[in-house]
């Protein structure tokens, strides 16, 4: 199998195997992400969705299998993880390796709407602002694949909706492929082209559907083992 991605691939994962001690997280997991495709990975806590993202990002070493990715990878974590000793602009520039990337710093800051706080230190930012700066930092290298690990989890409901809209716009603007790990069905449906659900131990893909077609809210919730019918409706169907 080729180590090089084809022109249409953003990520290709084959027979991924990863364990922590005696706990086998994945055994032979396959996943493909096309260029520009946005995939949301859902699953209950601890099912391995973050581990999958960390394997793709190179933060965890797989036991076995191959991971092929196209171009640069950008990653946004659950927390902003800004360097407290650098101002916003320098935090974003942290990822830059050359003049071309440094020249992009103000552009990506403008893209996330944070250019006006470029000189501030992270301690002077709200949680939502800091997460936007982290998003800008992940864009500096013009990634072909953006990895988002529960990026809205630490935000309140309103900031969450705002940032979700911003991410949506940015993904459309940059045309980067994205893998969004989340436990929120609405985040997944709002941002992704395709939704997959991980479950089991070792985790497997138990559901994969296209948003607007078979990946409806009800279908995704059912795959997660949750019913969106009220208690009353369930009683009614039981009787």
């Amino acid at each position: 199998m080729s180590r090089q991605p084809t022109a249409n691939e953003a990520a290709r994962i084959r027979r991924l195997r990863k364990s922590f001690g005696s706990h086998l997280v994945f055994d032979a997991l396959d996943l493909d992400v096309a260029r520009g495709e946005r995939v949301a990975i859902l699953g209950v806590s601890g099912c391995g969705k973050s581990t999958l993202l960390r394997c793709i990002a190179g933060l965890e070493r797989p036991d076995d299998g191959t991971i092929v990715t196209a171009g640069e990878i950008g990653i946004v974590f659950q927390e902003p993880r800004l360097f407290p000793w650098l101002d916003v602009r320098r935090n974003v520039a942290f990822a830059a390796r050359n003049d071309a990337e440094r020249a992009r710093v103000d552009n990506v800051l403008a893209l996330v709407g944070m250019l006006h706080v470029g000189d501030r230190l992270p301690k002077a930012l709200s949680g939502g602002m800091a997460q936007r700066v982290a998003l800008a930092r992940s864009l500096v290298r013009d990634p072909a694949l953006l990895l988002l690990d529960e990026p809205f989890a630490a935000l309140d409901a309103l900031r969450r909706i705002e940032l979700r809209a911003a991410v949506r716009e940015i993904l459309e603007f940059t045309r980067a492929a994205a893998i969004l790990v989340t436990h929120d069905v609405d985040d997944a449906l709002a941002l992704a082209d395709r939704v997959i659900v991980l479950a089991g131990s070792p985790a497997e893909i138990v559901f994969s559907g296209t948003v607007g077609e078979n990946a409806t809210r009800t279908a995704v919730l059912a795959a997660l083992g949750v019913s969106d019918q009220g208690l009353h409706a369930r009683r009614a169907s039981a009787s």
């Binding site: 990002a57 190179g58 933060l59 990878i73 990653i75 974590f77 927390e79 993880r81 360097f83 407290p84 000793w85 650098l86 942290f94 990822a95 230190l121 992270p122 301690k123």
Partner: protein, 247 residues
Amino acid sequence: MGRFVLPLGLLVLWWAATASGAVKSYQLAGPRDVVRELGDLAQSGVLWHDLGASVTRVACGFAIAFALALLLGSIVGGSRRAERALDPTLQAVRAVPSLAWVPLILLWLGIGETAKITLVAIGAFFPIYVALVAGIRGVDRKLVEVGTSFGLSRFALVSRVLVPATLPQLLVGARIGLTQAWLFVVAAELLAATSGLGFLLTDGQQTARTDEILVAILLFAACGKLSESAMRALERRLVGWTDTVPV
């Protein structure tokens, strides 16, 4: 305004007690005598000579302690294996009250400058070392991971993430270490010296000159306060980004 009430009150009390004759001058010299003695010592050059001697000892001892603490702290903080090998011994040495080393130091190094600087260095070393190891251990793994995710080399990870993240703790350790250095220079100069502020203290004691003793004490206070303020200014300048309540 309120902060000046107590010192001024004490000054007035001191002046009243000595000027009235209630306290004899061989027990406690009055403020005027102390100021006059300060002027005399400054004019004769003795003051600058002794002050210079003490400051030099503190500076040399502190510099040696800082360099050693930086080296050993980085090794122990950077590797668990080095920690197992070195830290228990260093902690055992730390458990010894530092002044207990004085007799050995005098036996080994005599009563010259080397002995004094060594004693100052021992006193200043441990606060810096302990703070640095704790600082390295306390670096947020999540920030290191950001560096890793951007493919930083080991060197870049150290210089761009670990060093700045450790700096606040290191500076706090250095501030405490510098205070310790002043403490130990007094001890060193009280034992055996022919110069320095500590020598001024013993000289004043032997000649029953309380004004001379008080001048030395005041100068020690001024030096300690000055170096403490300088370290705090350095902290504000270098690590003003920390999101903590200033101590």
